[in-house]
Amino acid sequence: MIFQRWRSQRDHTWAEENLSAYLDDELPLDHKARLERHLAECAECRQSLHTLKQTVALLRRAPIVQPPVSFVLPPSAQRRQARYRQWQMAFGALRAAAVAASVILAVLLSADVLLTSGIVSLPGKSAEGVSAPAVLEAQYAGQESAPTGAVPKPTLAPSITPRFTPAPAVAMAVIEPTATPISADAASQTTPLRAAVGVPSPTPLAPTPEAAQPVFTEAAPPQAPVAAAFPSTRGGLGAGGAGGAGGGAESGGSGAASAEGLPALAQEPAELKATPPFEPSTLQRGPLFAAPSPTPETLAEPTPAPTLGQALVMTSLPTPSPEPTESLAPSPTPMEKALIAEPTPSGVIPLAGKEQPTEVTEPSSVPWTVWRIVRLSAVGLFGVILILLGGLLWVGQKRRW
């Protein structure tokens, strides 16, 4: 009983909605039959259909309104048609320009997001912010936790800051090439790794062609352990400099690589102790070496594990790097002062602890700040263009029919 009442109410609602189409004979046959069955049962719907039919008949008999004027066009309207054609062509060009500007703006914004988030790194940026300050902080932390006279790795990163840019990015960029030529050189000499750790090659490290390559090609993760295992005075650089640099520049991958290299160094204290230091004459060859070089005792002490772990953790953190190197690094040591005060005329800064100064070329990419300005200007320019085109299209759309 309740179901029948509910069904009747549902049919009644449906019938009222379809009475208009039934009058115009626009209902499908099955709907028409269903409506007629309901009309036979429902007096209210029959009444509604009747009044609706009268209303439609009234509307269709509504008097025609005579236009008070004639709407014929003057002959000059022919020019309007020609102008409208021209406007249509311009409108099509505007639409194409708006689409192109939208695509370019989307590409720029996507690139901006990818670059700022660190998913994609450019040559200038990979050397700059994300990794370099973190490495410097890590090295600084390592210096604080290490005993006095420990591995002098904190002095390396700040000391090799080139003078052509104050940004820490370039400091990092210079660190990385020094590690790779050395490791490449060690690999080219086909010296076993353990032997390289135990006995340094007597031949001075000559600058290799790879040293002149851009920074971003030289911070390859597989090379970090080799650089970390480099003997003698490079022990400090290998632990803090090369490993940290590799981990910083390549974030994830190199971090793991340096994590492999650093324990290898820590597990060889005896070999490091047996490693003879470089000849004083070799170390004092240039102005860089006016500062006291690491002693064998210094090299004999491996870097404490917590400090290295902390360094790795810090290098993996994305840290923006607007701060200059000086704010992150400790006060310059005499070696740093020598490095900063006396770079080589070509802008190439040799590294301490190497038998022969390695020539490092300036990164070939545009400086990061300039690149950022260009990027933001391009985004803003295309945004303004897009807004203008949108306005023109909005105005033009009102003329389209």
Binding site: L52, V56, L58, P67, Q88
Partner: protein, 196 residues
């Protein structure tokens, strides 16, 4: 000359050929605009705009029903006028001054004065009833019950699907019926709505 040739000539810029089309359709367009807008002056402006825009855009006409195409233009113009009126509501001067001499209705010489008054009352009541409808329902009711378009043509003119046309027409007719039933005493004697 048939409509197709006139359209082709007008597409080439022949104003005279287009004016023959204007004369053929101006009463339909003005009626639609007047029923939608409910105001003679705005209806005149909308109709004039529609014919001008139609002539400009005629090279884009790709065949089909010219009546549906030009009715689409006039409904767009009327809709623009409605939106403009909603932004800047004004009282037409015609509403303030009763024009007894010209009601805008088509003159019929065979009509007696009583019949003319009766027809004027009917026209006024229908227009008031139409004005109570929402814009979208009013357009469908005007195109269907006053212009006599079928559902498919209305869907083409208003760019709607058939289901939307059907539902808007049903709701519009029902509201108009309720209005006329509520004002049945104002209807002329020959047009009374009777309950069964």
């Amino acid at each position: 000359m048939d409509e197709h040739r006139l359209i082709e000539a007008a597409q080439r810029g022949d104003v005279h050929a287009y004016n023959r089309l204007v004369l053929a359709y101006q009463q339909n367009l003005y009626n639609v605009a007047y029923r939608i807008l409910g105001d003679a002056d705005r209806a005149m402006d909308a109709t004039q705009d529609a014919f001008l825009h139609a002539f400009e855009a005629l090279p884009n006409f790709r065949g089909g029903s010219f009546k549906a195409w030009i009715l689409r233009i006039v409904t767009n113009c009327a809709y623009d006028a409605l939106r403009h009126r909603q932004r800047r509501p004004t009282t037409p001067i015609d509403d303030l001054i009763e024009d007894d001499e010209h009601s805008g209705l088509l003159e019929d010489d065979r009509e007696t004065p009583e019949e003319h008054i009766e027809r004027s009352d009917l026209q006024a009541l229908i227009q008031k009833g139409l004005n109570t409808l929402p814009d979208d329902q009013r357009m469908v009711v005007v195109l269907c019950d006053i212009e006599g378009l079928d559902y498919a043509e209305i869907a083409q003119v208003l760019s709607l699907n058939l289901g939307t046309v059907k539902s808007r027409l049903s709701r519009g007719r029902a509201k108009l019926r309720d209005y006329l039933l509520a004002h049945r005493e104002l209807l002329p004697s020959g047009f009374r709505l009777y309950d069964e």
